[in-house]
Amino acid sequence: MHDKENDIETIYNAARQKPSGTERSAYLDKACCNDASLRSRVEALLKADEEAGSFLESPPFEATITIDKASMVEQPGDNIGPYKLLERIGEGGMAYVYMAEQREPIRRRVALKIIKLGMDTRQVIARFEAERQALAMMDHPNIAKVFDAGTTETGRPYFAMELVKGVIITEYCDNNKLNTRERLRLFIQVCNAVQHAHQKGIIHRDIKPTNVMVTLHDGKPVPKVIDFGIAKATSQRLTEKTVFTRYAQMIGTPEYMSPEQAEFSGLDIDTRSDIYSLGILLYELLTGATPFDGDQLRAKGYGEMQRIIRESEPLKPSTRLSTMGDALTDIADHRKTSPDLLAKLVRGDLDWIVMKTLEKDRTRRYEAVNALTKDIQRHLDNEPVEAGPPSTIYRIRKFIEKRRRTVAATATIAALLIIGLIATTTLYFTADRARNEAEHQAKISRAVSDFLRDDLLGSADPWRGRTQGTSVISFLDAASRQLEGKFADEPLIEASIRLTLGSTYWHLGHYKQAEKNLKRSLDIHRKQLGSEDFNTLLCMRELGWVNQHLGDSRQAESLLIEALDGMKRTLKEEDGTLLYCMGWLSWVYIDQGQYHQAERLQLEGLEVIRRKLGPEHPWIPSFMYSLGVIYKAQQRFDEAEKLITEALDISRRTRGDQGIETLNIISQLGDLYSTKGRYEDAERLLTEALEGRRKVYGLEHPDTFASMDAVGWFYRRNGKLQQAGQLLEQCYNKSRELLGSEHGVTLDSMLHLAVLRQDQAQYEQAEELMKEALRISRAKRGEDDNMTAWSLNTLGKFYEAIKKYDQAQTYLNEELEIKRRTLGGEHPDTLEAMGNGALLYYKRGKIDQAEVLGIETLQITRRALGEDSPITLRLMHALGWWYLSIGRATEAETLLTEALEGRRRILGENHHDTRISALAVDFQQGRYDKAEPLLVKVLEHQRRVDGPDEPFTLFSIRNLALLYHKQGRYDKAEPLLIEFLENSRRVLVDGHPDTVAVMNELTKLYEAWEKPLKAEEWRAKLRETQNR
């Protein structure tokens, strides 16, 4: 049956795709064979599909829900208990309020509040009864009495209260243009009422303007606080099941709600919640607005609303006034004053008083309402108030919290933060805090460091853009010095500050200082908290990463492995700290050339994120792109391109075109395209990355410099020397100024600029820059630093290019030694240096040495990277291609065939590289016609991408000439051989064996072509060369 159902579905789907009725029925004939029931079922479905029209289709479901309200609402004239409803006088979110007449035991008019929502009426009444006695004891002219509670016939609770005919306090004040002092006096009366209730043990819980009415007694305004006891009676116990009801009520007036009320933490609401709400009321009386806009709070949804009430710092009333623009005139007018005077009146005392009532932490508020009243009275009497300007510690904390949300900051701010952090923690600890506060405090520091690291430094770094960039460093240095010995008794505080400092130094590219601080921090953390503590592991990770930047990749590896192991034991597998540790370790492996290890980690990370965090998680592109970089390093360009392109796609979608990670990915893809010779795409992407970084980071950030350098280098490669010069020069100068001359980015741009000068034949300047780079790197970064090696390499290549081979050999040998020493003999970079050595021998005409070194390189590569590595295969092919060009057919055949087989296996038959290998084999085996068209194309690509005088381009030129010669197409062969001689003059030593051989070939060609004169001319040239 099930199978049949499957058949039906398959056939149905296929049949639906058929364009016409005839085709459809032909298909059904075939598919259903003779199964009539199957066929009729499918046909029924197809018919249904055609007739279904908009059945179930979008707009998905437009059911509308209405509420049968009429039946729930009492009407005037109805009797409820002893009360007769007269008219409805109000409606709130939670209740209707009626004016009602009570007939017994006494005849009077009351306000009757009938709760709208279906609550558990019995509980409401029970809670009211529990407080009834206390409520009855309240006797205060500013409190409206609650007489009674009961149940309506429809089962809803109601409350009978003293009828207050008045106006909402805020409206009263505005309508009568009460000035600030008058408002304060009125407010003091409200406070007195609340204080009275508090003394009887009653908390209002819902103080807001609509619950404070002003009536006139003998022409004098008397505020009346209504609804005492009602909020509590109607608030159900805060079980999770009932929270919705609470929410429904609370959302009515969230702007007056204290953080602990918004929290639903089960924390008991106490008198200090009322103080908070009174503070909001005062705020509103003074400024005409609540600190948080109610509509906005409601619009933001539940979680965000809670967060704002809990965390967001309100503006001081005077500041709030200054943000009101045109509305301020009106507000001032309602207070019988001018905007300027109003702000002045509120600034200072009143600001502090209000802010003290609005503290998130209720222990920091006034301890009782009369303390608040007294302070207001003091203000009115021009005495100093108790609430003062906030303390330094307090200000720093506030400052940090505020800055958290804004991106703009300056060097001074960063320094202030760090010094402030030290001050904060010092003060905390001299203030005789209990020992176990240390942990708590470490948490605070961590929050601050996170902030510094992630928010301030990690995302925007705009403060490094200041030209006084160095002043940041001097502040940091000062902070570092301050730390010495200061925390002998509180090592954890030192540790956490050092972690902050270390990370900051790291972000600024000052790795040595970063290392020093992080190392110290790690030691302390380890000793105090053990090796598995989160902070210890975090420190370890940061230190490892800094070591990587210092070029000590072994140390980096061991730290990151230890950190990762610890994190795997103690954190969830999808924890970001852990995943990033994994990612970083993988980058260390990339650097060490251990691509398989690197790949394994990235794949593991990707798997965890996909499984645990979902397929579109923003970390995914980071890992995909790293994986792409690994493939790129392995010269698995197609896989790399696929991954990086996909990562870019996701990243653009999830982080936007100008996300930091997006920009990193764009740069890498641009670089990859440049390697592949797709110059237009490369230029587009590299430029996009540069523009993006300029926008995001500003003009003076290491990543912006790196992008400038990349674009400059790209222009140089593409022959746009002048544009390249401008960019590289600008980049070098700025980077030297801001990051210092030994910074990697500075040295990179310095060396690139030098190579450009070399291209422009400004050899002296080139040489000078290169030697300067080498000197700086040696002195400041060390003998074994990779920048030192890269400087040596550039110098070696430079001398090689101007044919000063001895010097070239010295520098390149030294480079190779450093690589062997620091990376080991089997690292891809070491192997590349060996290959360069072999080429140098070749260019010098030392063919035997070149061959020996070339073969050794191939052997080690084969062993280290494996038989199937694209690098091994490329080397094999290159060596074979050279053998072919010099006519050593046996060696050529072995190597070329092996390379072809490998490429077929790994890359498949149709891959570009496979086809080049196949072409080489065809050629080697004499299938010239087949080989020719592709070889022409390959050569074209090499001339353009590798350069016309690169040895492998030369080999191809010579091979193509050879091919034409064998085909007897002398006119085609001739210009190629001449091209070889001309190009080779620039790179090969005079009298190079291959030059001589090609001259010889040219002579033979002319002979075969029956051009004796030409043959003779070249024979003479050949003799001349040999004699020299």
């Binding site: 159902e5 579905e9 149905y12 789907n13 639906r16 029924a44 479905l45 197809l46 018919k47 249904a48 599909d49 007739e51 279904a52 059945f55 179930l56 289709e57 979008s58 998905p60 479901f61 437009e62 059911a63 509308t64 829900i65 209405t66 509420i67 049968d68 309200k69 009429a70 039946s71 729930m72 979110g93 709208k116 929502l117 279906g118 999770e240 099941k241 929270v243 919705f244 009801t245 929410y247 429904a248 639903f264 949804g301 539940y302 979680g303 965000e304 967060r307 965090l613 979902g614 397929p615 579109e616």
Partner: protein
């Protein structure tokens, strides 16, 4: 924290038992949310069922809205809950029409009046029940689209199937249900 949020967190932590608790909680929340929203409106105001589901999600899952796993569970539960609410309502209306008990039932929150032709809805529900027994995956797709108001693409993502597969499922499910309902009538 609301009950639903609590349960979603448990699901997030990998507590499989929590999945069973989700449906009643979501059901409860949807009804309360509808009642509460309507209580704030003028009489006769209407709400869209699917908008209600989405609003409930945003309110309840709020900050955790990015979490894929709990989102999937939420919408699955919401679709089922909405189906139940609508069907119960249709049944009740039908009862009333046939002289059922006019006295308002002991509804705690509010009486929701849902304006869908109840015969159609009940017929669809019958058909859907049969279809669920036969092909639960496709039936889920229908519930997510029809009752929770997800787009085809969203529903496909929830079910972990490709867009193309979802389109095939949808076409088949629609034809199946349409055929079933017409046969039944």
């Amino acid at each position: 924290m609301s009950n639903v949020t609590h349960i979603l967190n448990a699901i997030q932590r990998g507590d499989a038992r929590a999945v069973d608790e989700l449906l009643p909680a979501v059901y409860d929340e949807l009804r309360r949310l509808a009642a509460w929203k309507l209580s704030r409106e003028k009489p006769g105001q209407t709400l869209q069922a699917t908008a209600l589901v989405h609003e409930a999600y945003i309110r309840l899952a709020g900050e955790k809205a990015e979490n894929w796993r709990s989102r999937t569970h939420f919408f699955a539960a919401a679709a089922e809950a909405m189906r139940r609410i609508l069907v119960e309502n249709a049944r009740r209306k039908k009862r009333l029409r046939h002289g059922g008990n006019l006295h308002r039932a002991e509804m705690q929150d509010a009486d929701l009046m849902i304006d869908v032709p109840c015969d159609d809805l009940l017929a669809l529900d019958e058909a859907l029940k049969k279809f669920t027994a036969e092909d639960p995956a496709k039936a889920n797709l229908v519930k997510l689209r029809y009752f929770a108001g997800l787009t085809l693409a969203q529903a496909a993502e929830m079910l972990g199937i490709s867009r193309a597969t979802a389109e095939r499922y949808w076409s088949y499910a629609r034809a199946w249900l349409f055929d079933q309902i017409n046969k039944g009538s």
